[in-house]
Structures are given as C-alpha cells and as structure tokens.
Amino acid sequence: MRKTTWILMVALAFGLAACDDGAPADGDAGPGDAGSSGFENADCDDFDTANCVRVEGGDAQGLLDAVNTIDSDTTIVLGAGTFELSNQVTIRGVNTLNLVGQGMDETILAFTSATSQINGVDVIADGFLVQDLTVLDAPKDGIRVEDSDGVTFRRIKATWSEPGLSTNGAYGIYPVRSLNVLVEDSVAERSSDAGLYVGQCINVVVRNNIVRENVAGLEIENTQYADVYGNLAENNTAGIVAFDLPGNPVVGRDVRLRDNMILNNNHENFAPGGTVALIPPGTGTFALASRRIEITGNTYTGNQTGDIAVLSGLAIEEASVWELETSTLVGDWEDLGLLEGATPGTVTNFRTENVVISGNTHTDGGLAPEPHGDFGVLIRVLFTEDPVPSVIYDSIGEEFSTDPTMHTNVNRICVGGNTGGTGVASLDVPSQLLSPMSPILVVADAPFAPFDCTTIEGDPIVVPTF
C-alpha cells in the first residue's frame, strides 16, 4: 500500500502516464498510432502485468525515475528514440518486470557519455524480461542480470560504437548466477571479453543469436543444463566456448552446443587482459574443465587456428586451485564422479571428460594458426606444414602413446561422424612443455581408436525446453 502510493506520487510528479489493466491511461500513441511519442510496436496492453509505466523515447530521467520507484509486476514500455544515460539503469527489489522497447534499431540506451564505471542495465529480479532495445557503449557490461530466476533476453542488442577497442565494455549480454534463462534472437558484438556470456546458471537455452567482433563470442561457463543452438558466431577471436573456472560453486555439466554456425572467428584479440587475452585468434570452440558436453551438428568454416580444442583445467591452473569444498557446491554434482582433491572434503573439476564431438562439418579450418599466447605458439610450432587438425586434445590425464591402440581414453573423449576436417591431434602437452619435439599423435581418419565413440556415457544429456 505504502509503495503503491509512492509510485503514484512519483508518476504524477514526473508526468509519467501509469496505465492499469493494460490500457494506456492517456489514450494516445497506442499500437499503430505512430505519433511523436515514439510508441509504435509495443505498448502496455501487450503485456500481462498489473502495472505499466510508459516512458517517452529519449526521456532518460523518466526511465531512471521509473526503475527506482516501481512496484513488482510492472511493465516499463520505452518509446522509440535514444536515451542518453550517464548512470546505469538499476533494477532491484522488484519481481516480474518487463523492460520493453520498440525494437533494437528503434529504442537505444546510450551510455556513450557515462563517466562512471557502470553497467548499462543492471538487474536482480525474478521474472525479468528485456526485449526489443539496444544497449550502446556501456562502460562495463551491456545488460547484466544476476541472482534471478526466470530471465528472458529477446531481440536485444548489446554493442559498442567502435569495433576492436580494448576500452569497450567486457560483456554484452550477461546473465550470471541465475536460474531458467532464455536468450534468443539477440545480437552481442564488439565486447572486449565475451559478447554473450552465461555463467553459473542452471537451465539455460541460448538460441538463434548473432555474436560477432567480440573477443569471445558466446561463452557457457560453470553452467548446468544448457542448450545452445542455431546461433551464428562470426569474426570473434573465439567463436563458441564452454568451460569451468576454478573455485566456482557451480560445476558445469550437461551442455549441448548444436547446430550453430561458427565462421571465420579470426578477429584480432583486443582484450585488455584476463584469461581471454591469451586466446589465439582463429579459435572455433574450446571445452576446458568441462564434462558431459555435446558438440554436434555445428558448421565450422574458416577458423584459422583450429576448430575445436579439448583442454584440461590443469592447462591453466594447478590441481590445488581446482579444489571445491563439497559443502559449498550448488546444483547437481554428486553423480558426476568428480575426482577427490588432496584436501579432505573437496572434489576437483579440472578434468575434461565425457565429451562427444560428432556430426559437425569442417571447412578450411586451421590453415593459418596465430602464434598468440603460449598455446597459440605451441600450435604454430607443431603445425608448420599441414592444417591444424579439426580437434585438438591435450591428453592431460591419459597414458600417451604414438600407437593409437595403446593410447588411453579414460576421459572418454568421443570424436566421430564429422564431415570434412582433418581428424584429431592428441598432444602430449606435459611432454611438449619440456621438449617441443616430443611425440604428437595425429589420426586423420574417423572413426579411430581410442576416440571411437559417439554417445555420452551414462544418462543422456539433459537440457531444458523453453
């Protein structure tokens, strides 16, 4: 009651038109009534919430007033136009909130003049929908949503004015530590870390998005039950990747990367720092410290360093760093058979295992590996003449042998049924670090031992549907 009164007061004070039961209160600029208000496509009656606030296109103060005074169960409709914002759009303390513009080319939240270290749109709210708008030039992340259950990003764009600047913000579309996340029909480009990043989330669908000109195009990190399909990753430094970082209480599992286009991800690495700064340009996909991953039906074309890398977490951190106290873990992990750590009461998640790579199409991959970062240099040194094989496996945790039949596959990495490409390279990374001329196993024809399998071991991958 108190809050309702307050909202009314502010709405009146700032001339915002509140509309109940979905009907525009001021009667103007409804759907199809393209007046100067800039409300054209979306309006209050398109959304089933108890409250609705309309903010005229370009009214930045009105937008900030609205998000700081609304109650739960509200739709904020933004008119067409550019909102010049110097502070972030912060949403807290409410649930069931729709933030809706008139289209990603019509409603633009521009942070170009912001002088604080802010995100563009920064949200904690269960039941949050953001749709039909662009976030431009956010100093940090474009749209960040965390600790929320039920998050939808639809037809939104996160971008920066200039490509390839290390001063661009880190992440474009950024759901983190959230449950039940859908990202669809959206665009993320030019971020200096990851364009579309899903981290520490459970139950995720990421489909039909475009990621381009980012350092990492699309990242699935420490996330459980994710279906990633129909996306186009083009001209990033790395296309679509899945990995765990150490120390995180969500152990990644059950991630399906399927039917995506991963094309020409050869963009110069312009990250100002961090782990992604070390990724060689020309990388299609990597799985690192990951388990129960399917990489199937994707089209890889023109990624100059290589299409798919399968790497152990030990490639970036020593085992002790990967210890996780079991009492702190969230989500499902008991059935994963994680290795116990040296410290009592811990498990580790550095091991990459149970990965199926099948049904992908490879064209013109690994033709010109970039000697960027230690790993890029290693690849370049090893493959001076031939194209880099389509799948590179670091073989950490295996008994390495140049005789394929003697090479173990305890991590159960399955590669088969792919079209084009040049097979698997199993690198003896620990030995390679000591001597660049130590053995390397390259198998050109599929199927081949010991990677001759095409299905996940144990129960099938579980992914949500939205």
């Binding site: 502070n87 270290q117 600790d147 070390l278």
Partner: protein, 384 residues
C-alpha cells in the same frame, strides 16, 4: 525605539523568538520518523538534523553523530554520519558484525566537499544525504540531494552525477565525476546474502564495533564513541574486549611510511575491509562471483588473492595474471585496480572516480613488504 519594535515584530513573524523562549532546541519536538510510511519529500521533515553554514550540523535528541576508524573512500567526499534510535530502544552490541538496530532506527550519511579539502570546514557544500531506514520489512535506502540554497535536501530516487573540482588533502587539484547513487544502486554495496536461505538483504555497512571503537568530541572533549552511545542510551552493552580497526587518521596525519612495519598488515587489512569487503566477502555479491574475500577475518591467502587469477576482471587485469603477487605490487591486479582511474578497471565499482593516493600507497607498501612468493610460470592458456 521604533527600530527595536521592528526587530521584535520580525522575530515573532518568523517564530524565532517563540521557539527560543519555549526551548533551546531549533527542532519542533523529537524526530518525526515513521519508517513504515513513504519517505518524505524533504529531508527536514524527519527532524533528525539541521545544517547551518555557520553552526554546522545540529542534531535533534537521540540522533548521535559518529565516525569510523577506517572509512570508505568516496572521491575525497567528507562525510557526516549519525544514528537515530527511537526512544525506549537500543542497538544490540555485536563484536564482529554490524550492530542489531531496532525497527524505527535511521542512519544518515551526508556527503560534502570543500573547495580546498585541506580546510574541510571552509565553504563546504553539502551534496547529498543518504538515509537508511529500518522498517519492519528490513532496511530501505533513500537518497536526498541538497538544494542550491543549502537549506534542505530533496528525495531523489534516481540519483545524479556531479562534476566537481577541488584541492585534495595533499594539495593536488582534482576533477571528480561524483555519482549520487540512485536508490536501486544502494544495494550494490549494501546487499549481503545473509537472509534466510541465503537471500540477499539490505544491511548497513559501517556501524560495527571495530569501526566505531575510537574517540570523537561530543562537545566535552574526546570521548570514546561506543561509551558515548552507552551513556546516551542508544547501545545496550559494551564489553571490555571491544575490537578496533586501524585508525586511518594516523596515515592521513603522518603518511604511510610513518606506520611501523609490524602494523602495515593490520592497516591494509582494515582498509580492504572498509573499502572492498562489502562486496568481496563470502556474503558479498562480488565475493561469490570472484571468490576474492577481502574481509578482515578471511584467513585463506588464496582467497585474499595470493597467486589467484581473477574471475572475470574484464579490462581490469592490466595484462597481469594474479590478483596479488607477494612482494610485487606492480604485478598485483588488486593494487592496480585500486590505483587506476580508468573507467571499466577501477575498484570499487561505485563511488570512486579519482585515486585515493593514501589508500593505494598503503596497499603498495603492504604488498611490497610481503615475503615474496613465486606464483608459478604462466601455463598454456585455453585456446585452440
């Protein structure tokens, strides 16, 4: 005679003489705080304190000012803090965390600047007052921005940004882009995951025993703040073994180099606790994501950043690998992020646009004087 009559008449007209005769207080009775009602449009309606450019801050009954041993740095803003506890109630003492406040309590913090911060009381300009109200449903935060006339502050839920120029306490000219946070941004610092089932709840940050255990002049010479709280009846108990954080006034007075080597760790950890731990702790929002814990009681060196790679630092790594490299501040991301003024890289995320030179110098010395540790060679990065 005529002139005297005129003066008397005008005094009656503005009510000054009447109020002076009835009471010495400039307030019309005790504070009028109703935390369950909508916040008033004007700060003065709460009757917590008055601002008089000549007198300074004037407090109503049961409103007690306080200062912190190591305060949070906010672009050199000077801060006037006070606690209001309703009649008949007291704060519950806590040796570790923030005191437990009864419903109806209010914490106010006013931010102001002076043209020359070496003389902070000369020509000071009040910018904003942040009001934390303890309602029956939890804490609520409301920003008020002072008007140009400096007579009152107006409720401003959507905040503001202000360009400021001033001379800092070391005599350096500064240009700050000062952010008055919007209402929803208060939670960026004030939310901790300590509710039932780990839910995020808004909490005060400063008023804990270790930060409050210091002297302040309440008008009769230096007096311990906590003892004063007990005396005026807003605190329920005061054990003898009360902890105290490092008193940063020593550094402001004498510089970082004057601190004995044996106290540098304590000073630095107090600084990190006050400036970083509201987010970088096991209950803080950034702590959960980054696993970097800078709270004073964290004993895990790795979580303190030693040889730890950052989670998602974006532009904030400056090409370095580890959060904290003992013996090597220039290779420690933690130091570089506190020292920089680069948007997108600097820490804390809110409330700072210029470097706190004393603070970053303290952290520099702290890391430089640590026993050096080899964090290990660069391992091959992910990539294919």
């Amino acid at each position: 005679m005529l002139r005297f009559t005129q003066i008397l008449a005008s005094l009656f007209a503005v009510g000054l003489l009447v109020s002076c005769e009835s009471t010495s207080s400039p307030f019309e009775g005790p504070p009028t705080v109703d935390v369950e009602a909508a916040p008033p449009e004007s700060l003065s309606e709460l009757q917590l304190f008055l601002w008089d450019p000549g007198e300074g801050f004037v407090y109503n009954e049961r409103v007690v000012p306080y200062e912190l041993n190591t305060p949070l740095f906010s672009d050199y803003a000077l801060k006037e803090r006070a606690i209001y506890v309703p009649e008949g109630e007291t704060m519950g003492y806590d040796g570790e965390g923030v005191f437990s406040f009864p419903v109806g309590s209010v914490i106010v913090k006013t931010f102001y600047f002076a043209p020359d911060m070496r003389e902070p009381l000369v020509d000071r300009e009040l910018i904003e007052t942040r009001v934390l109200m303890h309602t029956s449903e939890g804490w609520e935060a409301w920003p008020y921005i002072w008007n140009e006339e400096q007579t009152d502050a107006v409720l401003s839920p959507s905040g503001a940004t202000r360009a400021l120029s001033f001379i800092d306490p070391q005599g350096e000219p500064r240009e700050a882009s000062y952010l008055v946070p919007q209402r929803n941004q208060c939670s960026s610092c004030h939310v901790r995951n300590i509710g039932e089932g780990g839910e995020a709840v808004l909490t005060p940050i400063g008023p804990a025993a270790r930060h409050l255990n210091r002297d302040l002049d309440y008008g009769a010479g230096a007096e311990n703040q906590l003892a004063h709280f007990l005396d005026v009846g807003i605190l329920n108990a005061l054990p003898a073994m009360t902890p105290a954080a490092f008193d940063f006034r020593r550094i402001e007075a004498d510089g970082v180099d004057a601190i004995p080597a044996a106290e540098v760790d304590f000073a630095a950890r107090s600084y990190l606790d006050a400036n970083c731990a509201h987010c970088h702790s096991p209950e803080g929002t950034a702590g959960v994501t980054s696993q970097l814990f800078l709270n004073h009681d964290n004993e895990d060196d790795f979580r303190l950043g030693v040889c730890k790679r950052p989670g998602s630092a974006g532009g904030g790594t400056f090409g370095r690998t580890y959060d904290l490299v003992p013996g090597d501040p220039e290779d420690s991301i933690l130091y570089l992020r506190v020292e920089t003024e680069e948007v997108g890289a600097m820490m804390p995320q809110l409330g700072r646009s210029v470097e706190h030179t004393m603070g970053s110098a303290l952290l520099y010395r702290w890391i430089a004087e640590m026993e050096p540790v080899d964090c290990g060679p660069m391992m091959p990065p992910p990539g294919g």
